[in-house]
Amino acid sequence: MSTTIATPAATQQPEKKVVFSDRLVAENRLGQRLVAPAVILMLLVTAYPMLQALYLSLFRYRLTDPSNKSFVGVGNYVTILGDSLFWKDTVNTVIIMVVTVAIELVIGFAFAMVMHRIIFARGLMRTSILIPYGIITVVSAFAWQFTFSINNGWVNSWFGWLPGISSTTNWYGDHWHAMFAIMVSEIWKTTPFMALLLLAGLSQISEDMVEASKVDGATASQRLFRVILPNMKAAIMVAVLFRGLDAFRIFDNIYVMTKGAQNTESSSFLTYRQSIEQFQLGMGSALSVLLFLTVLLLAYLIVKFFKVDLAQARGEG
């Protein structure tokens, strides 16, 4: 039985392949030719520095002491992985990433709903929601630094009536206050980006399906949790993936607001300080290699967690 069915399929399958293969081969060749310049450029500007970083990470090498360059093998990696500062900064980075992305997801979704549904002054509303994302990060970080400043910062002036806040609250005086200020700045800056990605997901959902669920008597929350969100899984994954990786590389806000004081350093900040401020190119390179591997692992975990078909996420499904 099974042989009978399989045989015609087997005889028909090659015919179909023959029909498409010539066109596919031609398309593939054209595609390769078109992609080649970009691949060469990527190899030059991405792969070469990465290989160079990998090579440098095996040396003890200081920019201002080039004569003392010495091969240490995996010594830099051993030092880094055995150092409490590295783990402290990694924990900080993960906290910032998880908290900011979670909050941005909720607020961003609310913004996306507003942008999707609103009819009156639609363009104006969308533009005003997206303004923070258009501002250069360093500029917004400076603005937030002054906002949380103990001297004349408006957080202290306006929210002094809240418990725990007064005109003399030093937001950069301890770890958690400083982390809070950094995260607020990060959320304010990047929530519009999250909203934009989720808006794209929202617009993919068929209105007929939502209407049908309404007709079937689904409540608003049922429509949200059983119709809209499940259909936005791919969009949410893309948003979380992009923002998660972006948040993991947080640097500008920390650099401007605390310069890493009160143990607010992130992994990127540590890498910057080792390479650029301390000129320890070997150690800095080892840190950047570890950062790259962590980001890779993180991307893999996020994709795994959402269990979304990547073709669907790309909009091909």
Binding site: T64, I150, Q280
Partner: protein
């Protein structure tokens, strides 16, 4: 579209390929000639020397103009401004010099980083005869801060020092005799008991290390010794002097005299704290004297000054030393001219011009003779500045200062966390950082 083609075709210059090629070739030649003329130094034009300066209120630009004029057409000095933060200045200079950037001819270098740049071979040597002149004209501390490997490697330009600034009305109320040396303990208690503040620089930055270094030196100790041994230098922080320094910081941080922004205070914030109605004492640089002239004349009239406070009562204080030395890049296309310009920049009269405009005091006694400077500052204050410079303790001269400073900042910040175990933990950490065993 056809009409457009015809219109183009009607232009005889565009229609003839030979003429088009000739015109193109001439344009390329003209551009290349322009570029080569601009890049080449042998065009006969006056060489331009680029001086990378720390941001100031116009002093260095005025000196650049004066030296351009004095050169009688031999060279022209133009200035480019470096970032505000001293460490960022170091980063920019070192990165560009490591790449042998010939765009830097002369540079203003913060003293703690002079040894690092000199050790890396980035600074052109100063002729021996010039070294003798500079050593004899400069304050001893200024010359010491600009010396590495037994050679003067930077031209001492200006020398700053910190003094104790106080509000005359406050000390009158608190009944303290400021004509005699005072200790940290005394001023902290006086401020605490009378509702005043003591303003210092205690953010996580170089300025905090300046304070710690002054406290330890004032107690007779040092951060490191045998600095010439590089990473094998002896770390001396864990000592009775280190303990005395930690005690002062702990005392201030836990007292009522601590400003609310103590942990983030830099020079500017300290100035604001001092300006407030409960401002009592402040340690800060020389330019503070004219800081409130236009913004708060009442405070300006109320300022008094005294020698830097003693870490240990009865033991003479060693105030912080700061300043700028002028370095000539080893990769400059005009090393000889740049050296001539550097020698001009640090002439006592030019030190005076800079001091008048910026409040950054000269590196030589002769620079203090500038009549305008003497008019701007009272004679006792100018004497105090010079006494303070003579007693000052420069930060350790070592190519690894940034490691040491960073390790100190990591272990002594925030000041509210400093206690009796801080000197010991910081000594271990500095050693580990220098040996590459710990991340900074």
């Amino acid at each position: 579209m056809r009409v457009l083609r015809r219109a183009r075709g009607s232009n005889p210059h565009r229609s003839n390929p030979r003429i088009r090629r000739l015109t193109g070739s001439l344009a390329v030649l003209a551009t290349a000639a322009g570029v080569l003329t601009a890049c080449g130094g042998s065009s006969g034009a006056t060489p331009t020397l680029t001086w990378y300066i720390n941001p100031d209120s116009g002093g260095q630009a005025a000196v650049a103009a004066a030296c351009t004029k004095a050169s009688n057409g031999a060279y022209k000095v133009v200035t480019q401004t470096l970032p505000q933060d001293a460490n960022q200045q170091r980063v920019q200079l070192a990165r560009r010099l490591a790449a042998h950037d010939s765009g830097i001819d002369i540079m203003s270098i913060d003293p703690p980083y002079t040894a690092e740049l000199a050790n890396a071979g980035f600074l052109a040597p100063i002729p021996q005869a010039e070294q003798q002149t500079l050593k004899s004209q400069s304050f001893q501390g200024a010359a010491a801060a600009a010396t590495w490997g037994g050679q003067l490697v930077a031209y001492p330009f200006w020398s700053n020092t910190q003094v104790l600034w106080y509000r005359k009305s406050f000390v009158q109320k608190a009944n303290i005799d400021m004509s005699k040396p005072v200790s940290w303990d005394q001023i902290i208690k006086a401020a605490s008991d009378n509702g005043g503040t003591v303003a210092v620089q205690a953010n996580k930055y170089e300025g905090y290390v300046v304070w710690i270094n002054a406290l330890i030196s004032g107690a007779g100790g040092s951060l490191i010794s045998d600095a010439s041994k590089g990473v094998d230098a002896k770390v001396d922080v864990n000592s009775p002097a280190g303990a005395d320094a930690a005690k002062v910081i702990q005392e201030l941080a836990s007292s009522k005299a601590a400003p609310p922004d103590l942990t983030v205070a830099q020079e500017g914030q300290a100035g604001s704290t001092f300006e407030a109605s409960n401002g009592a004492f402040m340690v800060n640089w020389t330019y503070i004297w004219h800081n409130y002239d236009s913004t708060d004349p009442a405070v300006a009239k109320d300022i008094g000054y005294a020698m830097y406070p003693e870490t240990v009562a009865g033991k003479t204080s060693t105030p912080p030393y700061g300043g700028i030395g002028i370095g000539v890049s080893a990769y400059s296309s005009h090393v000889d001219l740049a050296s001539q310009a550097a020698a001009c920049i640090v002439k006592p009269e030019n030190q005076g011009i800079n001091a008048e405009l910026t409040g950054n005091m000269p590196a030589s006694e002769a620079g203090y003779q500038d009549p305008k400077l003497q008019k701007l500052y009272p004679a006792p204050l100018l004497k105090l500045f010079q006494d303070s410079l003579n007693a000052a303790a420069p930060r350790s001269v070592t190519p690894y200062w940034s490691d040491i400073s960073g390790a100190i900042q990591s272990t002594w910040h925030p000041p509210t966390s400093v206690n009796s175990s801080t000197p010991s933990s910081s000594a271990t950490f500095i050693e580990d950082v220098l040996k590459g065993k710990s991340l900074l």
